[in-house]
Symmetry: C2
Subunit: 327 residues, 2 copies
């Protein structure tokens, strides 16, 4: 029920995922009346779609912790309880980011040993995608958090995205080992000594769009800035280019000719096509989709959950973190 | 003598500035022989161009503090001493950023009361430019530093760039006052209570390219990430768009037609056209130009110094900071 286009686009996305992938089964939590109305005009496999009524809605304006505690009948809390009880493997939401992140920790809970579950969106690069970890709401991270992010991110990229020995780098303001703020200087040697990951050193923000690393480790404040600037700058540049192309009659003609190719490029830099950002390290999967998600992003967010489940990511993270604890 | 294209492009840029602005007088520090060779093929007003010999060069690889202390005859140290002695008003360099920033503080020195001199590049936005302050080498800033950055940045934007009552915002991961990391939460109320500036609150990185603020305050690590990502992402996107446009014969024809307009747009997002980044709060002006600077950026960096001197920016900063100290 959250996000800018719900329940319309969310319901549509769910139906598209059901049609595309026969192994998917979906529970839609929220107003039964509204969901049924959206479903009326759609055809879908009815045996794999269930409505679980939830009478309340958490808005973006509410303080997350309070909202999760008080609104037990909200679509977010009802859905998270389905994951907690094991009835659902994953929860996809376009609703309040704060409420989803807080609720995921409070209700679904962390894997034993995981200190802080990161939010890790995939971002487009020149010729592929990279995982940016962490972009969550918990700032002021410690170095031990960042090491866990690096491990969890590697497991995700290797098993869900299919990158062999993913290159892990830490965001820094220079390539040299002695550069950086206190957190980076503290984390760098820990990552260097971590045998389970393929650590390649520091990455300057300039190199991120070039795809210089597969797993980009940073604390949530910087990660959030990178993610938002990525979105904002790409949008601004594309808007400006479109404006310039239609500035004169000649360029307008040219614009019509380059349009099909240009559209492809724009699409490859559109973050929504990769689906939402998974929150890792939980006893179940939670995927946070953009508030502005259209059905396509919802569908891709759901499909992402299949590989996560099939590749047993949570189990792999649990085993990895447990191994670390034993050392 | 530093940077990727020196002394050729640096000498050319200096000559272009001399030709364009009659009030400029230039000292070129470095190898007399090499500089003279570059000057041979150029025509310029000889009475306003002086060579000050300097036998050493500081490279990007050298530890800055050590290099500044040991290489007394380097082009950077010799130039900084000209500013210190008052023979020059400003120093423009495309050399080692670390050495320039360290040298500026050690040799030119801070204005009394300035806790930390920030590096503040101008960045392009949808319809103008904003000042991003700080992008320097001193990370792990305190809130009192950020308040001084906000004041110095406002003075610069108002007097050098000509923005009336520049809007000041602090980089944050949400618009609400309670969001942010410890540093932002501590700084926010200080900026809010600061009467000398026009503080408009938090800015999310997504809004920076839209020009939502004139002075964008942040500590150097985040500022550096924003600056580098700005450069890297714009370059990657433009490269990708160019590739896509020439992918088919039809689109190649179209590309030829949109090219002149597109070039204008690319230029407006090219950081080098605004000249280098001024380092504020010093007893003189130091401008750090990109290592990859061509003559045009060097010229613009020099021209930037004229307004800085004419508008008495250092004096205004000194008065402002002194006023604060008296309170």
């Amino acid at each position: 029920m959250g996000g800018d286009n719900s329940p319309g686009e969310v319901v549509k996305g769910a139906v598209e995922a059901l049609r595309e992938r026969p192994e998917v089964e979906i529970f839609l939590t929220g107003s039964e009346e509204k969901i049924k109305k959206e479903l009326e005009s759609l055809s879908y496999p009815q045996d794999r779609l269930h409505i679980v009524p939830a009478g309340e809605i958490i808005t973006n304006e509410e303080p997350p912790v309070l909202a999760i505690r008080r609104k037990k009948d909200s679509s977010i809390v009802v859905a998270l309880n389905l994951v907690k009880s094991g009835q659902a493997d994953a929860f996809v939401s376009a609703g309040s980011t704060g409420a989803v992140l807080v609720g995921a920790q409070l209700i679904v809970g962390r894997i034993k040993g995981v200190e802080r579950p990161p939010l890790a969106p995939l971002i487009p690069t020149m010729d592929g995608i990279s995982l940016l970890i962490d972009c969550g709401a918990n700032v002021d991270a410690r170095s031990s958090h960042l090491v866990q992010f690096a491990k969890m991110g590697s497991i995700y990229m290797e098993n869900v995205v299919g990158v062999k020995r993913p290159r892990v780098a830490i965001v820094n303001i220079g390539a040299e080992e002695e550069k950086g703020n206190m957190l980076v200087k503290e984390t760098f040697p820990l990552l260097k000594n971590c045998n389970e990951i393929n650590f390649i050193g520091s990455i300057e923000a300039r190199e991120i769009p070039n795809g210089a690393a597969d797993v980009i480790v940073t604390e949530a404040f910087v990660g959030n800035v990178i993610l938002k600037l990525y979105e904002g700058l790409a949008m601004s540049l594309i808007k400006k280019i479109k404006q310039s192309m239609t500035a004169t009659p000649v360029s307008t003609l040219g614009a019509a000719l380059v349009k099909p190719q240009l559209k492809k490029t724009m699409k490859s830099f559109d973050l929504s096509q990769y689906g939402g950002a998974p929150m890792l390290g939980l006893n179940g999967l939670v995927v946070k989709s953009h508030g502005s998600s259209k059905s396509n992003e919802i569908k891709n967010s759901i499909i992402q959950c299949i590989a996560f489940k099939e590749e047993k990511i949570s189990e792999k993270i649990a085993a990895n973190i447990a191994a670390q604890e034993r050392i």
